[in-house]
């Protein structure tokens, strides 16, 4: 039950590498090999509201900060720069800060949960990770670098969601100190690493080995508070692996989600941490969900590539369907089928509880 809200022609002159909606879902930021970042209104297929030019190479990724800091966007590029943009109006953007301390392409940026303040993590092909902290009062940026985080290069970075402080009378055994910041990174050494901030230093807490090729994306699942943690990692080896841990993050177990047809490039968790979207070299977008037995099942059936938007959504592939859980029947027919309105390939299946 996914409905297409808008199709936006970005009019980028080259390949788009990332697109992200802001917190409210009002503005869309896209970045491309043409070196620009464009801002769009997410509900109107108009021309770009703004085009942010400042990079001299392909821009790999963009990230929005929490709106409590204002309209802030970070972009990272092949030109070794990270630029943080700030806007007063959606059309009016200016550079807030430029970080040029990486020696190679910066491949990924991610803003920390808002509880930690305005903090940005950057992953670069020079093998290091930078954590930029903004003192919002004075507008001063402080950078901390994790050198040699991954040999050859770091491809992706993601923050652990912040845990609210547990009340003192909570009797659960909590070794998870809420003030501890954690990061997960994936790199060219086929490893996924978990980093913990310890007295102004970042130390490697775990290294997760299972991939047999470069890790292309990692995503720490947002937590709604359940005593477990999940990390998804996507790799060039065509696997997506879900790493699960208990509350104290001492042990991680891996579970291969699926072996895809091609390299997997991009993964994203839903805000409630129960749906994972995956896409890769074959350009297929697939959505995955864990059922009550702990199995991951695909919940959209599609044919062809995601870009064939004019295709009928009803092309359900029976082969794919048989792999699904039979108990997950589509919703009853009297409910509003928003997919009828959509011409998307993300088709209309919904899990009933």
């Amino acid at each position: 039950m996914v409905s297409l809200l808008q199709e936006i022609d970005t009019e980028h002159e080259d390949i788009v590498h990332h697109a992200a909606l802001d917190f409210y879902g009002l503005l869309l930021a896209t970045c491309s090999s043409d070196g620009s970042v464009r801002i769009f209104h997410s509900r109107k297929n108009n021309k770009a509201l703004a085009e942010l030019k400042g990079h001299q190479g392909p821009v790999w990724q963009v990230a929005w900060a929490h709106p409590k800091f204002g309209n802030i966007l970070a972009s990272c590029s092949y030109d070794r720069k990270v630029i943080i943009w700030k806007s007063t109006t959606p059309r009016d953007w200016s550079k807030l800060y430029e970080y040029i301390n990486h020696d190679s392409s910066v491949n990924s940026v991610d803003f920390a949960p808002a509880e930690y303040g305005l903090v940005l993590a950057c992953a670069s092909s020079d093998g290091s990770i930078s954590v930029l902290t903004c003192n919002t009062e004075y507008g001063v940026w402080d950078a901390k670098k994790i050198p040699n985080a991954h040999t050859i290069g770091v491809n992706a970075i993601s923050w652990c969601s912040a845990q609210a402080p547990d009340p003192a009378f909570d009797q659960r055994v909590t070794s998870r100190n809420p003030a501890v910041k954690r990061l997960v990174s994936g790199g060219c050494d086929n490893l996924v690493k978990i980093w913990r901030e310890d007295n102004d230093r970042w130390i490697e807490e775990h290294r997760l080995e299972a991939h047999s090729d470069w890790v292309r994306d990692v995503a720490w699942a947002p937590s709604i508070g359940l005593p477990r943690m999940q990390i998804a990692s996507a790799s060039q080896d065509r696997h997506v692996i879900i790493w699960s841990s208990n509350a104290d993050l001492s042990q991680w177990t891996s579970n291969v989600l699926h072996t895809f047809d091609d390299a997997v490039w991009s993964i994203s968790w839903s805000t409630t941490g129960n749906v994972l979207a995956v896409t890769g070299g074959d350009n297929n977008v697939s959505l995955w969900k864990e059922n009550s037995e702990g199995q991951w099942i695909r919940i959209n059936y599609e044919s062809g590539t995601a870009i064939q938007s004019k295709q009928s959504h009803q092309l359900h592939n029976p082969h794919q369907q048989q792999a699904q859980q039979p108990l997950n029947l589509p919703q009853s027919s009297d409910s509003e089928h928003s997919s009828n309105l959509s011409n998307s390939n993300l088709s209309n299946s919904q899990l009933s509880n």
């Binding site: 001299q56 609210a164 805000t271 979207a277």
Partner: protein, 997 residues
């Protein structure tokens, strides 16, 4: 095919395409080829001309072919070869003794082939590289030596007398493989290897490390060519669209730069004359396939353009004319599968020579042989000595100063090595003359008056006798070594001093030119009035330098050049310009935002099928993989994707390939697919959260049964039929099963009903676990701190409902209200002050945080109880916070506030201005209107002298205040404090607030 020669002015409609250098009037010769040989069936990727100039080798995957030149019958000798790999490079030996030998590189191996009268003999196979060999170069003096370079970053020098292993391995410790290599044509001891945008200069007598590093280009170097004349000079062609002339003694900056709009594939010096020929590869395969002849002394416009090829020119070579050394021929091989021969005659070479009006350059060529001879005699260490290279501003137009060639000025320097300084004197004759003159008083006077403490300026030398001065200016991260020479007539009108920028200056030539102009105009202004100008000029220079450098830095392309020339960054850049460890760019992506909206995009890269074929694997891993699979081998490097503004090149390239492989239908689909469209989906239904439902849901605690029913209806209305039974169940939980006339103990049991608690908990946990945080949170909130009245239903008697509730409140973990006297309570129940009485009976442990809640919720809260176990509270609070974040994203702020009210968290302390009063009894600061321990009100209204409970206001300066209404009345007519303390409250308070904000 007679040569046609026309002289035409560029018509300015883009006809010049990629070769254009942006000049305004462009006049150059257009040449057609003299001969043309077509080889339709040839798939040759490499071409070479042998020593004699009679044979051209065309080498491809399937065959080797020799084409005889000079005879129009077009004799072609073809020899099949079996290999699955393309030939990356083939080179004939350039020494006469091995004229029938050639080296052919296939994959990691190099085959030495000797061309016998009938067929080729494979003499040797040189194995040593671990990755594809990218370039080969023969030594031009020692016939046994050749050098090869490879993606494995090594450059191997082979001696054919011992072909088993390389005679010398040059290990460039860097990430990027070597792409080009070349022996020095004059000394033979030096060789240059290109690693992406960097050059490493090696001396083969000392192979452990490079003698020089040159950060030549921002982008991959496609061609290296050493000068035939000057030992230390070489030209590089790069993807970034420039050809640069370097002197390896001065690795910091290029001597001259030819700028084109498209990547330059090759650039080679003409073997005779003073020219250079470049191949420009147009973007997207469109535009002219320019083959241009340039003069070494004029970089703005080409001398000649060779037209005829319809596709990208793969390589070219010089065909030596052994009989007549004044004429040379150019042999080109293009992807259009034609071999063309072009004659370069005397007239053209003459055009390459500097025109006589550029006297500086004329001098340069006149001294040329002299100079090179001198250099050949110097020991190898000469490269480490700094060679002064002044740029003259006073005598030349700016354009000429852009070419700081080794002109006449340097000659005295080179001849007098005893002169140890880094500064060049201008002309010996000039100095000699000035030696004889007496220094004028005014110059000495000016020097003595010069403020030597100017910021950014260091005075290195002031010599009034020799009439020159040296300054070192460091500003805006750049250094300028400035030499000023004063003519004897200075400072008489119109005799300005002469300014030169010397060796050590870190500015690019165009910036230097601008700065020199600034100096000259400033000097002229002053000397016009016969005044001294030195200090004025230096100050103007520093100002201009700061301004110029920053303005140029903003201009993109120039900036990179500036960066390169800043020595601090050189090291960082040289290791950074590699793509082998940068992941392959994503063509598709997904992203969830905080409220469950999904963004997706996908663009089919048409390269895919092709790559798949050649790599026998899935989508490439690294960015550098892009180029490896192109039809052109490494012509279109990686970086087309990156740094070219028109980066879709590789897409286009692959599309053509796809067409060949897959047929049209697929191509059409894929072309359609490449439009960068982003789709935005609302996936919140998948996450079981729904904004409309969130907006409609109520948390009315007065009648929980009714609330559950209504929420069930809302679920039905929004199509969440699966939730309807859950709300029915919740309704049942809320409905008391015990008849209300039963005893008190039964009631108590009801609230502690373990079944209901467990049921509720497992329901909440189930929904939280399944990701339906909305339902979980609503259930948790509804049964948390719920009033007893609600649980019992509307029909219950008010009195009987309250009493047990109050009793129960005692049992609740959160509300430690002292037990009330039932009777008195029952009597007082009608009075409005009941809750106040209750409040007063509370113990001190009733937290402040609940106080505010208490005020708002009023009566209902006093009866709060909970069906949620206390151990589960923190966990459920986290669910609530997660849901509150979603509500924040939906901008349902009041709903969010209601949810957050159900958490245990204390609201963050107010960040704004707060009025804190001090209790008169205990002297402790209080934020509440009453001091709890002393049980006395803390703020007394200064007007009515009664304690303030409601809205209050007070002066931030004197602290006097009271009831809001009273204050408003007072300050309508007065500006000073009512107590008579003399404080003008309104003014002071506004001042203080302004100060804080």
């Amino acid at each position: 095919m007679p040569p046609t020669e026309t002289l035409r002015a560029g018509s300015g409609n883009g006809e010049r395409g990629a070769g254009g250098a942006g000049g305004s009037e462009q006049t150059y010769i257009i040449r057609q080829s003299n001969k043309c040989y077509e080889h339709r069936d040839s798939q040759a990727t490499a071409m070479s001309v042998d020593y004699s100039g009679q044979w051209v080798l065309l080498a491809g995957r399937g065959h080797l072919a020799l084409q005889r030149l000079g005879q129009d019958d077009g004799t072609l000798r073809r020899h099949e070869r079996q290999s699955k790999y393309d030939i990356s490079v083939a080179e004939f030996a350039i020494c006469p003794s091995r004229r029938e030998y050639c080296a052919i590189a296939t994959s990691q191996n190099i085959d030495i082939v000797r061309w016998g009268p009938a067929e080729p003999y494979y003499e040797n196979s040189l194995r040593g590289h671990t990755r594809t060999v990218t370039d080969i170069d023969w030594h031009n003096k020692n016939p046994n030596l050749l050098v090869s370079c490879s993606i494995d970053t090594f450059s191997h020098i082979w001696d054919l007398r011992d072909p088993r292993k390389p005679a010398l391995s040059l290990n460039a410790v860097c990430m990027s493989g070597a792409t080009q290599v070349g022996f020095n044509r004059r000394s033979g001891n030096l060789l240059a290897a290109a690693h992406d945008g960097d050059l490493r200069i090696w001396d083969i007598r000392k192979g452990s490390c490079p003698t020089h590093y040159i950060t030549a280009h921002l982008n991959r170097v496609h061609g290296i060519n050493w000068s035939h004349k000057r030992e230390t000079c070489l030209a590089t062609a790069s993807q970034d669209g420039t050809v640069k002339y370097f002197d390896v003694c001065n690795p910091r900056r290029a001597e001259k730069i030819i700028t084109t709009l498209s990547p330059v594939w090759r650039a080679r010096y003409t073997p005779i004359g003073n020219g250079l020929v470049s191949i420009v590869v147009p973007h997207l395969g469109r535009g002219e396939n320019s083959l241009l002849l340039w003069s070494n002394s004029k970089q703005t416009d080409p001398i000649c353009s060779f037209v005829g090829h319809t596709d990208v020119i793969l390589d070219f070579a010089w065909r030596p004319n052994r009989e007549d050394s004044t004429e040379i021929e150019l042999v080109t091989w293009s992807r259009d599968r034609t071999l063309r021969v072009w004659k370069i005659d005397d007239t053209m070479l003459k055009l390459c020579e500097p025109s006589p009006d550029e006297d500086e350059e004329g001098d340069s060529s006149r001294y040329e042989p002299d100079l090179s001879e001198l250099r050949a005699l110097t020991p190898p260490e000469f490269m480490h000595t700094l060679q002064p290279r002044p740029m003259t501003a006073a005598s030349l137009p700016i354009a000429a100063t852009l070419e700081p060639g080794l002109g006449a000025n340097t000659l005295p320097m080179a001849r007098s090595p005893s002169f140890g300084g880094v500064y060049a004197r201008r002309e010996e004759t000039h100095i000699a003359r000035s030696l004889t003159d007496q220094p004028t008083c005014s110059l000495q006077h000016e020097f003595s008056l010069l403020n030597t403490n100017m910021p950014h300026v260091d005075v290195d030398m002031l010599c009034a006798i020799k009439r020159y001065a040296c300054f070192k200016i460091c500003a805006a991260d750049h250094t300028i070594i400035l030499q000023v020479t004063f003519p004897t007539a200075y400072p008489s009108p119109n005799v300005p001093p002469d300014f030169q920028l010397c060796q050590g200056t870190t500015l690019s030539s165009d910036v230097s030119g601008v700065l020199l102009k600034v100096l000259r105009t400033n000097a002229l202004q002053r000397v016009k009035k016969s005044r001294s100008c030195l200090e004025q000029c230096l100050r103007a220079l520093v100002a201009a330098m700061k301004k110029r450098v920053t303005s140029v830095a903003g201009a993109g392309a120039d900036r990179s050049q500036m960066l390169l020339q800043s020595p601090r960054l050189e090291g960082a850049l040289s290791s950074a310009l590699h793509d082998a460890c940068i992941p392959f760019p994503r063509t598709s992506g997904v992203h969830f935002n905080a409220i469950g909206m999904l963004t997706t995009f996908a663009q089919v890269m048409n390269t895919k099928r092709l790559t798949l074929r050649q790599h026998q694997s899935i989508t490439p891993r690294t960015l550098s993989a892009i180029n490896g699979s192109g039809l052109l081998g490494n012509v279109m490097s990686t970086t087309t994707a990156q740094r070219d503004p028109n980066a879709s090149f590789y897409l286009q390239e692959r599309m053509i390939a796809c067409k060949r492989l897959q047929g049209k239908q697929r191509v059409m689909r894929q072309i359609n697919g490449t439009t960068p469209v982003v789709h935005i989906y609302d996936a919140s239904q998948l996450l079981h959260i729904n904004r409309d439902m969130a907006r409609d849901f109520t948390l009315d605690k007065r009648n929980i049964v009714e609330t559950c029913r209504r929420n069930g209806e809302i679920c039905r209305a929004h199509g969440r039929l699966d939730l309807v039974p859950i709300w029915l169940l919740a309704e049942l939980i809320a409905t008391p099963h015990v008849p209300h006339e039963s005893s008190m103990s039964c009631q108590l049991l009801f609230y502690k009903d373990p079944f209901k608690k467990s049921l509720l908990e497992s329901l909440i946990m189930h929904y939280a676990g399944a990701g339906d945080v909305q339902t979980a949170v609503l259930l948790a909130c509804l049964f948390d701190k719920c009033p007893a009245a609600g649980l019992m239903g509307m029909d219950m008697d008010v009195a009987s409902c309250r009493l047990p509730a109050q009793l129960h409140a005692q049992l609740s973990p959160y509300h430690t209200v002292l037990p009330l006297d039932f009777k008195s309570s029952a009597q007082a129940r009608a009075s409005s002050g009941t809750w106040q009485q209750l409040k007063q009976l509370r113990s001190n442990s009733w937290s402040d945080s609940l106080d505010w809640l208490d005020f708002k919720l009023g009566q209902t809260d006093a009866f709060a109880c909970s069906l949620i176990r206390r151990t589960k509270m923190p966990l459920f609070d986290q669910f609530k916070r997660a849901y509150a974040d979603v509500l924040f994203g939906w901008q349902l702020l009041t709903k969010r506030a209601v949810i957050l009210k159900h958490t245990l968290h204390t609201p963050p302390p107010s960040q704004g201005v707060e009025f804190v009063t001090e209790c008169a009894g205990c002297g402790k600061p209080k934020r509440t209107p009453k001091c709890e321990p002393c049980k006395r009100p803390v703020l007394i209204c200064i007007l009515c002298c009664l304690p303030v409970r409601g809205a209050s206001n007070a002066c931030l300066s004197c602290g006097h205040g009271g009831h809001m209404q009273h204050m408003i009345h007072w300050f309508e007519h007065h500006t000073v404090c009512a107590t008579g303390c003399g404080c003008s409250c309104l003014q002071r308070t506004s001042e203080l607030l302004a100060l804080i904000s």
